[in-house]
Structures are given as C-alpha cells and as structure tokens.
Symmetry: C4
Subunit: 368 residues, 4 copies
Amino acid sequence: MVAHALPVSLSGYARAAADRLDVEALAYFDGGAGDEISRAANGRAWQVPTLVPRILRRLADGSTRCPLLGRTLAHPILLAPVAYQRLAHPDGELAAACAASAQGAGLVLSTQASVPLEAVSAAIADDPDRGPLWFQLYLQHDERFNRALVRRVEAAGYEAIVVTVDAPCSGVRDRERAAGFELPHGVSAVNLADLPPRRAAPPGLCNGLVQNAPTWEDIARLVRATRLPLLLKGVLHPDDARQAHAIGVAGIIVSNHGGRVLDTAIPTAHALPAVADAVGGKMAVLVDGGIRRGTDIVKALALGADAVLIGRPLVHGLAVAGAHGVAHVIRLLRDELEIAMALCGCATIADIDASLLGPAQPSHSQPP
Amino acid sequence: MVAHALPVSLSGYARAAADRLDVEALAYFDGGAGDEISRAANGRAWQVPTLVPRILRRLADGSTRCPLLGRTLAHPILLAPVAYQRLAHPDGELAAACAASAQGAGLVLSTQASVPLEAVSAAIADDPDRGPLWFQLYLQHDERFNRALVRRVEAAGYEAIVVTVDAPCSGVRDRERAAGFELPHGVSAVNLADLPPRRAAPPGLCNGLVQNAPTWEDIARLVRATRLPLLLKGVLHPDDARQAHAIGVAGIIVSNHGGRVLDTAIPTAHALPAVADAVGGKMAVLVDGGIRRGTDIVKALALGADAVLIGRPLVHGLAVAGAHGVAHVIRLLRDELEIAMALCGCATIADIDASLLGPAQPSHSQPP
Amino acid sequence: MVAHALPVSLSGYARAAADRLDVEALAYFDGGAGDEISRAANGRAWQVPTLVPRILRRLADGSTRCPLLGRTLAHPILLAPVAYQRLAHPDGELAAACAASAQGAGLVLSTQASVPLEAVSAAIADDPDRGPLWFQLYLQHDERFNRALVRRVEAAGYEAIVVTVDAPCSGVRDRERAAGFELPHGVSAVNLADLPPRRAAPPGLCNGLVQNAPTWEDIARLVRATRLPLLLKGVLHPDDARQAHAIGVAGIIVSNHGGRVLDTAIPTAHALPAVADAVGGKMAVLVDGGIRRGTDIVKALALGADAVLIGRPLVHGLAVAGAHGVAHVIRLLRDELEIAMALCGCATIADIDASLLGPAQPSHSQPP
Amino acid sequence: MVAHALPVSLSGYARAAADRLDVEALAYFDGGAGDEISRAANGRAWQVPTLVPRILRRLADGSTRCPLLGRTLAHPILLAPVAYQRLAHPDGELAAACAASAQGAGLVLSTQASVPLEAVSAAIADDPDRGPLWFQLYLQHDERFNRALVRRVEAAGYEAIVVTVDAPCSGVRDRERAAGFELPHGVSAVNLADLPPRRAAPPGLCNGLVQNAPTWEDIARLVRATRLPLLLKGVLHPDDARQAHAIGVAGIIVSNHGGRVLDTAIPTAHALPAVADAVGGKMAVLVDGGIRRGTDIVKALALGADAVLIGRPLVHGLAVAGAHGVAHVIRLLRDELEIAMALCGCATIADIDASLLGPAQPSHSQPP
C-alpha cells in the first residue's frame, strides 16, 4: 500500500478498518456498552461547541510543544491503553509503540497488552524524541501480584502508572455478546500470565465480582508503594478529582472508557470543564473519548485539558497498515491540530483558551 | 431453545418478539395511542439524562435489596399489569407469575387477565422468595360486582390493589385499529365473566362511556372497603399525588399507561421528580414506561422512585420463551442494575440519589 | 366504499388522499412555501408540548359545547377557507358545506371557491344544527367590486366576513411550480368572474403587485361598510391583534396560511399565547395550521384559542370520499377531542386551561 | 435551454449543478472543511430563526434599494469571491460579471480568478446600472508583488479591496482530497502568474506555511498604501471587528469561508449579531454563508447586516447555464427578497429590523 492511498482522516481510517477487521474483533474494539449512547455522544460533544476564530495574529515561530508531568512534549497527543492489540495486527502493541515513538506521541500500555511490557519499552527505549511511556494498571485481586507487576513496570522504564478506576466490573457489551466475541488462540493478556486464580466469589453485587474492587485506600497505598507518578483514568466528577489530588495522585484522565462501560455516562467534553476547574493547574488533566479531529483537540485544551488520548483510532491505524497506519493516524491528527491552531489565531498551545468557544445559541433561535 | 441463544438485552427481546407475535397481537401489545409520541418519548426520557459515576467507593457486601410497602424486596423490579397475556403465550399470566416468583420480582395481575386470579395466586403461593403479588383493578360500572371482585382478590391472597386511574375511556389506538385487532376465540377477561351488561349510555362525552368514570369519592370509598393497601396507577400531577395521600392511598405509580392512552402525555421520567418531591417518603412511589436498562432503573431511583415496573418486556419474554423468557428478561434487567450500581459507585439502593445525574448541557454548546 | 374501510386518523386521510389526487392538485393543496419549513413546523409545534392529565375528576354530563361570536357551537372545529375545492372532488365546496353542516362544524368559504357562494349557503340554510357560516374575503384591486361582493355575502346569509391579511402577494411555491400546476378547464374562482382586469402595474415591490395591498385603513372602512362581524385571518403579532381590536374587528385567526406564504414564519402554536394574552376574552381568537389530533385542539384551547380550523384535512376528506369523507374527518377529530378531554379530566371546554401543559424539560436533561 | 426549464430555487440550482459538474470540480466547489459541520450549519442557522410578519402596512412605492459604502444599490446582493470559475463554465468570471451587472448585483473578484482582473472590469465598465465591483485580495508572501497587484486593481477601476483574513493556511478539505482534485490544464490563477516562488519554509506551524501570514500590521500598512476602501472578509469576533474599525478598515464581511476552512466555526448567522452590535453603523457589515432564500436575506438584515454575498449559488448558476444561469440565480433571490419583504410588511430595506424575529421557544415546549 502506498502512502497516498491511505485514508485522509480518522473517520476514513475507521471505515477502512471496519472492512479489514473480522466481525468479532470489530465488535470488541468498536462496540460500546448498552445502546452505545455514550459512545456516540462522546464524539458529538466535541463537534457541537463552535469555535470563534481570531484573525491577523502573529503565527510565526509557533509550535504544538506543551508541558506534561515535568516533560515538554512535541504535541499533546497520546495513545490510550487498548487491550489485545494483536487482534488488530500481528505486531500489536509493538507496532503502536514504534509509531508513537516515531511521531513523538505518548504511549499508555494496557495491563491487558498482548505483548510483554518489557518488550514494548525495549523497542523504543533508545529513541530520544519519543513521547512519554506510561503503564495502565488494572489492580488485580492478588495484592502480591500487583506489587510484583508494579516492580516490573518500574524496572522496564515506564514513567508513570495510570490506574483505571471506572471499571470495577465489565460493562454491558451487547455488540460483543451478539457477535460471540472470544479471544482467539495466541492472543492473551501475557502480562497477567502469573496471576493466581480468583477464590470463590463471595455474595454481593455482580456475583461478588466487585467484592475486591479498588478503593481510595488502595490508591493511597499504591501512591506510597511506587516511585512513579500515578494517574487515575476514568474520573468524571470534580469531587473525585479533588480527592485524587488530596492523596498525592499526579494526574487524572477524564474518561468514560470510550463508552464501553457505563452507558449514558456523561460525555467527557461535558465533564471536563468542572473537573479542570477543580484541579487544573494543580495536577495533570487529560481527556479521551471521541477525539477525532484537530479541532476536537483545540476544544479539549480550551476546556482545560493538558493533553488528549486516542483509543479506537489507534486500532484503526493498526488494522489498516500496522505501525505505518498508526503513525499516519497520529500525523493526520497532529497536522489538523496545527491547522486548527493557525486558523484560530493561536501560535502556541498556551494561546488556546475558553475565549475561542462560541456563545450559546441566541434566544431568537428555535428548531424548525 | 438453549439459554445462550436468547437475546442479550430487552431491546433484543423486543425484536425477537416482533418476529413471533402475529401482527394483530403485536399491534395490540406494542402499539400506543395516536402518533405514539409518548410511547417513544418514555424510553428516550430515560436515555437522555446523563450519569456522573463516582469512583473507588467500597462496593463489598452490596445488594439490590430495598423496602416497599412494609416488605423487603430482593430488587426493585415488578411486572406491570398487562391484559390478555395468553395472546402472547398459551400459559399467559401463569407463566409470568412463575417467572416473577423465580426471580423475586413483584407481579401486578391485570383485571383483564386471561386466566383466573385465583389460579395465579395459587401457582406461586408457596414460594417463600417470591416478590409482592398485587391486583390491578379497573373499577367497573356495577358497584356490586366491584365489591365481589375485591373480596375475591383479598381471599386469593393478593397483598395490594392497584387502581388504574388514567383510562376513563380507551385511547385512540390507531395501530390496533389499522391491524383490525380483535380478541381471538379462547382469550378473554375471565375475571370479568360475571359482570352485568352496561345499561344504555346516557348522553355526555365519549357517547356517555365516561358517565360513570371513577372519581375521588369512589377511591375514598374503596380505601374504606378493603383491608388491603391501595395504590393508584396513572398519576402524573403532584397535586393528584397529594390528594391520593390525603385520602389514605398507600402508593402511586407514575405512569402514562405506556403511551397507550393519551398521546403526548408527559414522559414519566419528566413527571416523576415533581411527584416524588410532593409525596416521596410519605407513600410508595413507583414508575413505569420505557424502562429497558439497568441504567434506566438507577435514574428512576435517583429521581425519587422506590421501584419500577416493566410491561411490554414481559410480553416480549412470554412471546419468545414463555416463563423462561420472562424470567430471563427480569434476570437481564437485574444484572444490568447491579452492574450500573457498581459502575456508579453505589453498593446499595440507598446510595442512589440525584447527585448521580449530570448537569444541563453547558451554555457554550450548540447544535451543529 | 364502506365506512370501516375509511382511514382511522387525519394522517391516514392525508396518505390516502396522496394516492388519489393527481400530482398537480396534490402539489397545490399539500405544498407549502419555500422549503416548507413552516408547513412542517406547524404540526410539530402541537406535538411537542406535553400534557399533564388530571385524574378522577367528575366527567358526567360533559360536552364539547363552546361559545363563539354570540353563538353556542356543538364543538370548536371549523373548516378553513380552501380555494378551488372542485380540484379535489366534483362536488367541491358544496360537499364540504354539507359535511360541515351534518357534523355541526363551522364553514369558512373561500373567495376563490369554485362554486357560487349563494349555492353554498342555500345548500345548508335549512339545517338548524349547522355550525357558523362565514365568508373569507380577499380584498381585490377594485373597490366597487369589493362592495358588491360584500353585499352578495350579506344577502346570502353568511354570518361573518374573514379578511385574509397575510398574503399581500403569493408565496414562493416551489412544489407547485415544479409540478407545473395550473387550474384545469372547468375549475375557476367563479365568485370573482365579474372582477375588472387590473390596470398596468406601477413600479414597486413584486412588480407593483402589492401596490394596492390592503392596509389598516381599508379594514377600518370595511368594518363600517358591513353589518357583519369582521375577522382577520393571518395575525401572528400581538400588536396587530390589539390594533384589530381597536378598530372594531370582532375576531382574529392566528395563522401562517398553513405555511403556504412566508416560509419560516413562526408556528401558530408558538404565536398563539402572546396573541391570546393580548386580546383573548376581548375578541374571538381562533387558530389554524397543523391541527390533526384531538390533543392538538386541547393544547390550542389551553393556549388561549376559542376554536380551531382545519384546511388540508378537509381536502383529504374530499379527495377520499367527498362529503362523506369530510364528515368523517370532522367526526374523527371531534371524537378524539372528546377522548382527550376525558383523559385530561376535563368534562367541558371551559375546564381546559394552561395548567394542563407540562413544564419545560428538566435541567438535568441533555441530548445523547 | 429555455427559461422556464431552469430551476425555480437556489436549491434546485444546486441539484442541477451537481449533475453537470465533474466530480472533482463538484468536490472542490461544494465541499467544506473536515466533517462539513459548519458548511451545513451555515444554512440551517438562517432557517431556524422564525419570522413574525406584520400585516396591513402600506407597501406602495416600496423597493429594495439600500446604501453601501457611499453608493445606493438596487438590492443588497453581491457575488462572493470564488476561485477558478472556469472550472464551472468556460466563460468563468466574465460570465459571472456580466450576470451581476445585468442584475445590478455587486461582484467581488477573487485573487484566484481564472481570467485577468482587467478583462473582468473592462467587460462591465460601461454599464451604468451595474453594482459595485470589488477585488478580493490574498496577501502573498512577496511584498513587492502585493504592491503591484494593488496598483493593477486600482488602475482597472475596482472600487474596493476585500482582504480575506480567515485562511492563513488551507483548511482540511477531505472531500477534495478524496476526489483527488487538481486544477485541470488551462485553468489557473492567472493574476498570480508573476508571483515569485516562495523561499524554503522556515520551521513553525503548518510546515512554516503560516510564517508570513498577514497580521494587523500588514492590514494597517495596506490601508495606507491604497486609495481604495478596504474590507476584511472572515471576521467572526466582535473584538476583531472593533480593531478593524480602529485602524481605518471601511467594512467587514462576517464569514467562515463557507465552512471551507475551520470546521465547526460558528455559523455566520450566530456570529453576526455581536459583530453588528460592535461596529454596525460605523462601518459596512456584510455577511455570507448559506444564504439561499429571500427570507435568509431578511433575517441577515434584521440581525444587522447591510448586504449579503452568495458564493456556491453563483457556481451553480454558472454550471447550469453560464451567465444566464447566474443572472437567473440573482433574479430568483431578489424576487424572493421582495416577496419576503412584502409578506413581512416591510416596504423598504430600512423597515427590516430585529423586531421581525420570533421569540425563543416557549418554556412549556419539550422535544418528543
């Protein structure tokens, strides 16, 4: 496949990937929870706010550079943690990591990665221009295992740990179940291979599966147990963000898990402003969910985010053209961000603020 | 049919039932009044509000147990009164009752049931884990008949009487009329078999058919005439709820009759908050109309309901797999409720409140 | 055609008429101005407000009787003035008049009727139960002709004159022009047969065609020139309603001409409240535009109207079954009104008020 | 093609042009940026506000005459600058100029015109009834070239210079790229033929392409460098309009470039009121984007515009019937404007104001 035949937008990648992924993998990656209302609302919530661009400002010497957790990034785009990427391409997470590295994007590796976490970090360790490398952690039911996993993550050179907190149990994944999705032979959560089996479930909600769901105490203990900065992924309420800050968490990711867990959860674009008001400036605030355009990123930053993550587009890039596809997806988004900044009159990331967002619809308007 | 081939959601059941019910029965059960605006709006009104889940709360030892009219229920789901269930399956109301009993759900038997009310109560009388068993009453034009029916209901072990008050006459059922629906031979309102014929209609609205429609005086008399607690079904205005409380009614069901009577009646999700503000805590407040997901139940409880009822999904379960289908429908909804609670950070029903509901759309938003 | 094969709703009549009318007549009758935004918005604006019905009120001895301009009507439904009804059925306006008379509905005959105005009044003069008979007047460019026409109208027994004031020129009727609509041989505005030709158009807007458009002075002169009460049809602004009252006009019809003149004109349901607030009680206030259900009439009366008119449904009835079809259309709407009143807890027209209308959507709601 | 076979509305022209333009040209002319949200929202934003027409006002001796930059125009319609019009018709900009002249419409020639600017002005110089002739300027990277171009524009008799300021770089034109659009042999920006090549791009946003994007200083310099009045096209923020006025700019065009540059930019109908409030009356305020109906023009003027421009409809007219098509497009719009004015009760342009616009939707309304 030659470069000019690749899709020209992230939605083009989504369509192309739908033709290449088998139906079970597509249901797994693209599906959401329940009626997929949050999944669809996430994207629309970035499209709906309007931009009021400014004109004739000096654009010379601009750039997308931005600070995040003590580093300066080339641009504010990270790859979100996505499980089992070898379902999308044989190279899986290794391809994604190389693509991220080549494009200066951050990478958050999933606990449920289908390649060893050490292999991923080794693949890009030597790239001086790579973005941040983080590890996403699902706290497991075995405390000893959790501690050992954190030690491996630290030893492998990951720079931060992202604890996902919005999924004490799985969501209601109708599309997956209708498609009969099961992990194929040869794809598994290799980093959890040593996890001891769960003991018989006690009574309680969800057949006892949430009996050991992580609590604030578990997070506080983890903060003390690792030298790495900790982020929480899946924060939607400002009081939870405040609580995270109070116990020493370094950053939060405003996320509803791509609409894959609790359907009708608030779109992240609507949750972001209150969360950023509560803790912005005091801790890193990232956001994901439906980011597909450079203008979406401008709006996310205008509403208080420091950076954004993309999940499904990474899978689409993998499915269409492996590492090359992922790199192209990041490149497209980064180019669109630069264009959107220039067209809004913003030479730098710091120039982006809420004054770019349009007012509410005038009161004389009325649906026909 | 093996269990794993059953639908995985209530909307899946609705689609499967549409393939199995004959066109007249489908028009009768699934149709609504007029342009079916309220019928559609009911469901959408639960989907539209957003949830702002809370994280990292203790979920251990949670449950869906909840109080209702002096009992503790296993969960807050009841089967709504639906007429002529033998149209959907030969076992009709008996199947629904067994399914409800097996799943700990409450059951409200319709006056227009197609099996004797005594047979229904006898079928589940010995199950210690069954939910509440109530009887829905349409007051008839013959006072002596009404009194005798109430005596039968009391004698058969029903625990409460639900008087439907939103249908002094039938609604404008276009879909039914277009399909030419008539009750087939062998299906009838057997519990009304002894009802004397109506005398010639006097003049007045609706060809005099509403001349003897029940009034507040009739309800007050009924409260005094039975030892059972009385509920009113079809209350949408808070002043009517207050009036019901004042005359000794024990509970109300916020309902627009599934959109089957007055089209463009307010969706029950929109009527519920004012009603619950008026009488919540002083009397039982239930709600029905378009509840199809566990998240819908969370929202109903957050808006002030003590429990919810499902109507059409019961019919869909019956049509797809008889008692087994109804039980599965209840089980799906109950499982979804537990998952939604866990994902919202609520270990118990008492943890659910309005703080879970998202704020109005921010003022910078604007439809594209 | 047997009665039970007729459509069961006004929208059913619309569909059936679309199959029977030739494409030019359909474009003429059903089409609107421009992009037909107002035409569609009219109907939706009645569907959108919700009703909050009241329960257990006494319904005995209720009726739809209501006062209008000194008479008591059997119900508040009138047939709107529609031109060239012989395009829809050979009996044209005579059929409509007989149907209205049989159903106790009012009739407003169009200046552009395709039968003589004297023939229409003669056809129903002897029916003691007929509704009001009014004449719709387009003031013509010739003052002598206007005076003679008013004399004919008075002599023929019409009880009021309705001057249409929202059409100083024709609207932009794209559908009509695309269909190449022209009046067929044998159908014409017979009551204008003696109208002298217009003199050469002077310069000005619309090629001078609006040079002699009626003004407030013309209306004031007409009030003085006839003994009949005068109504203005096409009033949307409360100040215009006040002005009409000030010069002795007896009533107004809130109308945007069925969306046939100025596209994107405010839906009549949205214009009605302010107009009724301004002049309701002091003069008759009627409304038309998109009324298709009994619930629409309840809302119109709740928002301040004294009566309603239907236009296109009359044509659909004519096209489907002549006088019988029109009578059935009126009967359906009247039956639906009675049902809606009973279901709202209103025994009489006077019981209908704005307290039946639901509150605005709660602030926690948000489009998905 | 005979006149009566031409489309009867601008949307009809759009459909007819889509059948005649080749797919690449269609993508170029009709496409927008990104997901084309702004492109679609522009048009809808004019349709959504309602009009509350006034009745019985004197319409005699009315007209569409209006003042603009010291001239009196026959009507407030101008042709927007559109590049490469010879893609749509061999006569290109010459045909458009002749049509504008014949209809008394203004013309704004694009810097990227496909015919020499002197040829265009020469073609219509002798028409005493022609509308204003303006030149749209993209400031180029070579200052000497810019100065020479302005001298040519002045010498050729153009009356004003319109500097486009909303496109420091190209937008994300997915449709164009998907169609593989390239300028065909024989169509080029002939007026830029002498432009020296750009030097190697320095680092910065957009590969350095915006390094020399025009700034307020460049505009201030241009104001001093030409005797012609200067307008800025692409102003959406009131503060930018104020700044333009402060440095001597004579007028602004509220525009988002037809949704071709920054997707999700605020619709021009929503941006216009604040801009007009800021500078209306002190400088000329024009608007473009989605104007397709006479009622759209009435609303634009009611919201504070002095005149409007149409872009794509000009191309559609060209594609369908060359100069004749463009003239017909203007004529249709002008006729619709006159009709809309008459129907609103406005005899003159000065009678149009915000009191014609309807109130916000009443609070009892609620989407079904």
